[in-house]
């Protein structure tokens, strides 16, 4: 039997959040954490609340804090997560909790929208695709794969302090994804919008984002590139 401790909070009935323990029969299988949540919801308590969709690590719904580390529940096997025989599951830290493991991601999405995450190129498009060499396209690898799960930004102390002013690792990764795209012509405008003390420069290179990214991406490196572009622009 696996001992699971879950963060519970229902705004309608609970004064304060609390931890609830469950004893789950995993049949000694190395299940994913999401499978354990599904077992709890089906067999123990149908009111346990969390988000989930693809269950294969590409939709980004089930970012959670498992035994102290952010990750996606659907691709985190128990063998990688269990500490001291116990699984402690909490919502992603730093965002308001709506209910149980579900957080309000509005601030996170607002920072994403702030970087204008879409290609900008006012020149008339050709009749076919805009050409891009494999080398130019390779510049987008490690950037476009982001799934907006918020594991990175909610593990970042700078984002905890200034979620309204620091764009955060996820948003900045996307900002650089468009700065790095040979087809995008809005570089100057994009940099101007980021050139303040908070948007980019609140990153202190702690690299929590890199440690938790379930897709193996490196926001710190992308932020480094943006810093360089901003500094070059200033001189």
């Amino acid at each position: 039997m696996l001992q699971v401790s879950l963060y519970r909070y229902n705004p309608e009935s609970d004064e304060a959040p609390y931890m609830q323990d469950f004893s789950v029969d995993t049949g000694d299988r190395d299940l994913m954490v999401l499978d354990v949540l599904e077992l709890i919801k089906a067999d123990h308590d149908g009111s346990v609340t969390y988000r989930r969709s693809c269950r294969e690590g590409v939709c980004g719904s089930d970012g959670l804090n498992m035994n102290g580390k952010n990750g996606l529940a659907c691709i985190t096997p128990l063998s990688e997560s269990i500490k001291g025989g116990k699984l402690v599951i909490r919502p992603l830290p730093g965002l308001p909790v709506i209910r149980d493991l579900v957080v309000d991601m509005s601030l996170f999405y607002a920072q994403y929208e702030k970087v204008q995450p879409y290609l900008q190129n006012p020149t008339p498009a050709p009749a076919i695709e805009r050409l891009q060499s494999p080398e130019e396209r390779a510049q987008l690898d490690g950037l476009y794969e982001c799934i907006l799960c918020a594991c990175c930004s909610t593990s970042c102390p700078s984002f905890w302090w200034n979620p309204d002013r620091f764009v955060g690792p996820a948003g900045l990764l996307q900002a650089y994804r468009f700065l790095a795209d040979s087809r995008d012509t809005a570089t100057e405008d994009r940099l101007a919008k980021l050139d303040d003390p908070f948007s980019v420069f609140r990153c202190h290179g702690i690299q929590n984002c890199v440690n938790v990214c379930p897709k193996g991406l490196n926001p710190t490196k992308a932020i480094g590139h943006i810093r360089t572009m901003l500094l070059n622009r200033a001189t």
Binding site: N10, P11, E12, S13, K41, A42, D43, D45, G46, S47, T49, Y50, R51, R52, S53, C54, R55, E56, G57, V58, C59, G60, S61, I75, P77, I98, R99, D100, V102, M105, Y109, E113, Q116, P117, Y118, L119, N121, A125, A127, I128, E129, R130, L131, Q132, S133, P134, E136, R137, L140, Y144, E145, I147, L148, F178, D181, R183, D184
Partner: protein
């Protein structure tokens, strides 16, 4: 999302209701690519060849006017996506990279294997969905995220004038009034126990449509993807075989050479899936239970795998505990795609048939993507055609609605009674004190479908399945809430989803039993031959009275000659 983008760009007030944040939708899981004759890999490529392949792949019950529209408009729609920023992989010439996929040919089947599937590595769906969402942000589309559409609202003329929707976060329930309601609600793979589909693929559009008296077309046609990871069900793209991977049995034999001597592992998905099941049934399956086969990729080399199939390497390591660079991936045919759906024309308008058997438009209702049956996939969808379908017909729906709005759409307002009728199911669920829990009922439904309506089907066994479903119906209708809270109540949503799954499953079951022939994905052991005399047509299902009827297939494309049905071999 493509339809919403078109409408947002046109300046009309457009809202998207989505039960998940838009980038969590199942399109995100599409891997291998989007098939289209953009003439990058082969400058001579021709959309008519793509059309031929699609008609043949459909086993001749795809509508040729719709396939013609999709294949000919496709290139324009792909280039638009590229201009929006979709990060396609590239060729040395700087053009979009295209890879070979199953069922593709040059020169109407005479010129060998084509490479026609445009790809962004093996994350094409992710790249596509994010690009569409990003461009909707750019165009300031209004999103109702984590809102769940419950049922259609119809006025006294039987026109669709919006939906009842519930805000998942707060439980607030409203009537969303609309001049044009577009379903892009995706598939329902969760009717089966083993599926590549996301948890959210619960046939919500099908459920709403069937309850509102809208017919469903070709619901017996479910695609079983040859390569779902054994045990986990997660998808491994056909692009693996496009890049040179192949299937082996327990003897290490490349068995597809026996079943499809020309196309081998790139035959149609229905053909490959059936061949795999036959290998397993004949005792040549792998593993201690001999219940799967393996997909061999290691001969392609680490460099190709990491650059062309990085997502597959990741999934295989996570879910199969196998590194494809070193050893083959255990795979098994897994429910993947619903070829059937709400019948529509090429403008996305939902159709029904009138008393004379002629097509009649249902005012106010549109459908596109997997929930629609326009029909471009017929009895078997070709890989890479689903993304093209949703982009082309999402766009077409948007264009048509834009034109209709400009010309003026007059629908009578729903009365209070109409609105209450649409809200009745939710009301009843909220009021019910006793009943069974959702999870065991869902499990029971999925087991019935898995056992009685799988890759191979027989009449007697299907009739048993239909009887079991009939017993289950009342219990599903009386499902009870495990949680009565208003705040982010996922239990309530799962109950509503279960009822949608049930409607979809029952439609599938009844029509599968009725079609007494084998065609495309529908393989009957008691009727092993294709029967063009009686079944070269769509099936149509009405939930009231569980009526099955037939609807003709379109054989009159506008600019090319009809592709006549012939024996289908690969």
């Amino acid at each position: 999302m493509r339809a919403a983008l078109q409408l947002a760009q046109s300046g009309y007030k457009t809202a998207v209701i989505s039960k998940v944040f838009p980038t969590r939708s199942h399109t995100v899981s599409a891997q291998g690519g989007i098939t289209c004759a953009i003439a990058s890999a082969d400058p001579q490529d021709d959309w008519r060849w793509h059309m031929y392949d699609t008609v043949k792949g459909s086993d001749y019950i795809g509508d040729q006017d719709a396939i013609e529209y999709m294949c000919s408009v496709g290139p324009e729609a792909i280039f638009e996506l590229e201009h929006m920023g979709l990060p396609f992989s590239r060729t040395e010439e700087g053009r979009i990279y295209q890879r070979p996929f199953g069922g593709q040919s040059k020169n109407f089947g005479e010129g060998g294997q084509a490479a026609r599937t445009c790809a962004a590595a093996d994350r094409t769906g992710h790249a596509l969905l994010h690009t569409l969402y990003q461009n909707n942000i750019k165009n300031e589309t209004v999103f109702f995220n984590e809102w769940f559409a419950v049922d259609l609202v119809k006025n006294q003329d039987d026109a669709v004038v919006g939906v009842i929707a519930i805000c998942i976060e707060t439980g607030e329930t409203v009537y969303v009034k609309s001049k044009a309601t577009v379903f892009a609600t995706g598939g329902a793979g969760r009717i089966y126990a083993s599926t590549t589909n996301a948890h959210i693929n619960t046939g919500d559009g099908m459920g709403m449509a069937l309850r509102a008296g809208v017919p469903a077309q070709d619901m017996e046609m479910w695609q079983f993807h040859p390569t779902g990871i054994y045990g986990a069900g997660t998808l491994v793209t056909e692009g693996c075989r496009g890049e040179g991977g192949y299937l082996v049995n327990k003897d290490g034999e490349r068995f597809m050479e026996r079943y499809a001597p020309n196309a081998k592992d790139l035959a149609g998905r229905d053909v490959v899936a059936r061949s795999m099941v036959l290998e397993i049934l004949e005792g040549r399956g792998c593993g201690p239970n001999g219940d799967h086969v393996k997909l061999k990729l290691d001969h392609l080399g680490e460099e190709v795998l990491e650059s062309r199939l990085p997502g597959i390497c990741e999934l295989s390591r996570t879910f199969a505990h196998v590194d494809p660079v070193k050893e083959p991936i255990p795979v098994v045919p897994t429910c993947h795609y619903m070829m059937g759906g709400i019948p529509t024309n090429v403008h996305g308008q939902a159709l029904t048939v009138d008393a004379q058997g002629s097509d009649a438009v249902i005012p106010g209702l549109y459908a596109c993507g997997e929930v629609a049956c326009v029909s471009v996939h017929g009895a078997n969808r070709l890989g890479g055609n689903s993304l093209l379908d949703l982009v082309v017909f999402g766009r077409a729906s948007g264009l048509f609605i834009e034109k209709s709005l400009r010309e003026g759409i007059e629908l009578r307002d729903a009365s209070q009674t109409d609105i209450e009728a649409a809200g009745a199911r939710l009301e009843a669920l909220n009021a019910r004190e006793q009943g069974e829990q959702v999870a065991p009922l869902r499990h029971e439904l999925q087991e019935i479908m898995q056992n009685h309506f799988g890759v191979f089907r027989t009449g007697e066994f299907m009739r048993e399945g239909i009887a079991k479903l009939a017993d289950l119906r009342e219990r599903v209708e009386n499902v009870a809430l495990a949680d009565r809270s208003s705040a982010f109540n996922t239990s309530r949503i799962e109950c509503l989803e279960l009822q949608n799954l049930f409607e979809t499953a029952e439609a599938t079951a009844v029509v599968a039993e009725a079609r007494d022939e084998s065609r495309g994905a529908h393989a009957r052991e008691d009727f092993t031959e294709r029967d063009d005399e009686n079944w070269l047509c769509h099936s149509l299902y009405q939930s009231e009275g569980k009526q099955v009827s037939k609807r003709s297939v379109n054989f009159t494309p506008q600019t090319v000659e009809t592709f006549q049905p012939k024996a289908r071999s690969y």
